[in-house]
Amino acid sequence: MSQLAVERLKERLPDAVSDAYEGVGGDDVAIVKKGRIEEVCRFLKEDPELLFDMAPYITAVDYLGEDPRFEVVYELYSTQKNHRLRLRVPVPESDPVLATVTTLWKGADWYERYCWDMYGIRFEGHPDLRRLYMYEEFVGHPLRKDYPLRGRQPLVPERPVDEPWRGPGPAGRD
């Protein structure tokens, strides 16, 4: 449907797009180089034929063991043209920094904070890059594949539980 977007992107910024393909279900996907993401997004938003005025979802994936390790995924939508495009940006573990797109879409704010909180990918130029869900004292990034599923970091020490069926309350209470 939005083949147009991919073609125009390749035509105008050929060296910023390393690959483009049609994903499952006919979604258009473009793989964008890390340093060029802001430029690509600005072009997609402002080009009069594309007008991607909304960024409904931004997330990240940790492909542990692959190089580059992370990938940030931008799902874009145009309310005026009713088309969508997905941008995938590979991000290496050694330099997990991207330019922010909050200057283009204010809605990207919390999604970028989410990516920082959960995957440890920083966004340069973000106005307030704090953790979104976890507390400030939290060490590490929980959605990374090398963070254990049952990893616990309580802020107040947890009381030992002798009998897991009864819970940590005083003994002798029914």
Partner: protein, 407 residues
């Protein structure tokens, strides 16, 4: 004494003079009756005006995505129930559609109708909850009681289909869990009649009510451009004048076979958001009736045992059935490697699932695009410079659901 008072003269402009105020910080939440869910808002107040506001979320964060990476694709369904717990079937359906997109699986017609039918009933429940809670917080407790009655009789009907009021766990990859019980259609029509009565009562109580209009008209307004920029979807975006509805923009399931209208507002304020919810309930009513009419008996799930559990007589009677059952339970559905983003129109907007599979039985990554996220994000901008009292109805009408926003 009285004489003393008489001799004291108030300055002539005393009534108009501004009241001496001082700046203060107010902590609303995380546990506050008017903050649904557990959101903490730090409000910087100047008298009664909100000078600035900061939100702090994550108190309900329970690691939805991390948990999903540790279980099979089918075991994720109960977790999705807990995203938007008021309209859980829509989460089930959204997730099922995302996995089916990756598997390139098409469901039978009856399953599609069942999904739409139950989703629309749940959309009504969601909107009823919003309207009822909003009424309660504006001082109209009657509305809450009426809305709860309507919601509960709808939940009764859904319980007859899926066995639970809230955690429905109804959709499956490749279809739905159960077919409708006999005689259910007539019962639903009766229920819808009662819901319509109650909705009209609520409409009479609220829509032209002076207090409600004063509290809602013009408060929490956002322009169309800002709403799009913030990524609003659903009723909140449509209230701002942008007619984007996934059911019309890119129809899924059977939404292209049923007739319904999409209400669009003009002001983008709380009152428009409320009116759109009221109208959408009417439209859902229409969709449910059309589904009941158009639906024909048939299969409720694909007969492909790589995805769907075989019927029990086959499991116990044939070796193929037993093997398929064992494989599905122990290893899970083998979803082809790849990534996909699938989105549906949930009660509050676009509910998206970004799924990545490595070809194994468990999700490699499952990202949830919760509709309430963007609306909550924009709350400080919608309220800065407004009264503290406007925060409550605005928080109501954006209908942020802690379960899905905080995952």
């Amino acid at each position: 004494m009285a004489k003393d008072l008489e001799t004291q003269q108030a300055p002539p402009d005393a009534l108009e003079a501004s009241f001496p105020t001082k700046r203060m910080h107010l902590n609303l939440g995380p546990s506050h009756p008017a903050m649904h869910g557990t959101v903490r808002a730090v409000v910087d107040l100047d008298g009664e005006d909100i000078h600035s506001m900061k939100l702090d979320i994550g108190f309900l964060h329970r690691g939805f995505e991390k948990s999903c990476e540790g279980v099979t694709w089918t075991q994720v369904f109960p977790y999705t129930d807990r995203l938007n717990y008021v309209s859980s079937i829509m989460n089930n359906v959204g997730y099922a559609l995302a996995v089916e997109k990756l598997c390139k699986l098409d469901t039978p017609d009856r399953a599609k109708y069942l999904r739409v039918l139950t989703s629309e009933l749940h959309r009504m429940c969601d909107h009823l909850t919003l309207v009822g809670a909003m009424g309660l917080e504006l001082g109209a407790m009657t509305v809450l009681i009426y809305a709860m009655e309507a919601r509960d009789i709808l939940w009764d009907r859904l319980t007859e289909v899926c066995g639970a009021r809230l955690t429905s766990n109804y959709a499956r990859i490749g279809g739905v869990a159960r077919d409708l019980p006999p005689g259910w259609g007539e019962k639903v029509e009766k229920t819808l009649g009662r819901v319509t009565e109650l909705r009209e009562e609520i409409d009479k109580l609220l829509t032209r009510n002076r207090i409600v209009m004063d509290r809602l008209l013009g408060t929490g307004a956002i322009t169309r451009e800002d709403a799009i920029n913030y990524g609003f979807t659903g009723p909140c975006l449509r209230a701002a004048g942008e007619p984007y509805d996934v059911r019309k923009a890119s129809p899924y399931l059977v939404y292209d076979r049923v007739e319904f209208d999409v209400p669009v507002g003009t002001r983008g304020d709380n009152f428009d958001r409320y009116l759109i919810r009221m109208e959408e309930m009417k439209q859902s009513d229409r969709i449910v009736r059309q589904c009941l009419e158009q639906m024909e008996p048939g299969e409720i799930a694909v007969a492909d045992y790589r995805y769907v559990l075989p019927p029990k007589p086959e499991v116990y009677g044939t070796i193929e059935g037993a093997m398929a059952h064992f494989k599905l339970i122990m290893e899970g559905i083998k979803v082809p490697a790849g990534e996909a983003y699938s989105y549906i129109e949930a009660a509050n907007g676009e509910l998206g699932f970004y799924v990545v599979s490595d070809g194994g039985g468990r999700p490699y990554k499952l990202g949830v695009r919760a509709p309430g996220w963007n609306m909550l994000m924009a709350l400080p901008q919608m309220l800065e410079g407004k009264l503290l009292a406007d925060l409550i109805p605005t928080f109501d009408t954006i209908n942020m659901i802690g379960g899905e926003v905080e995952q």
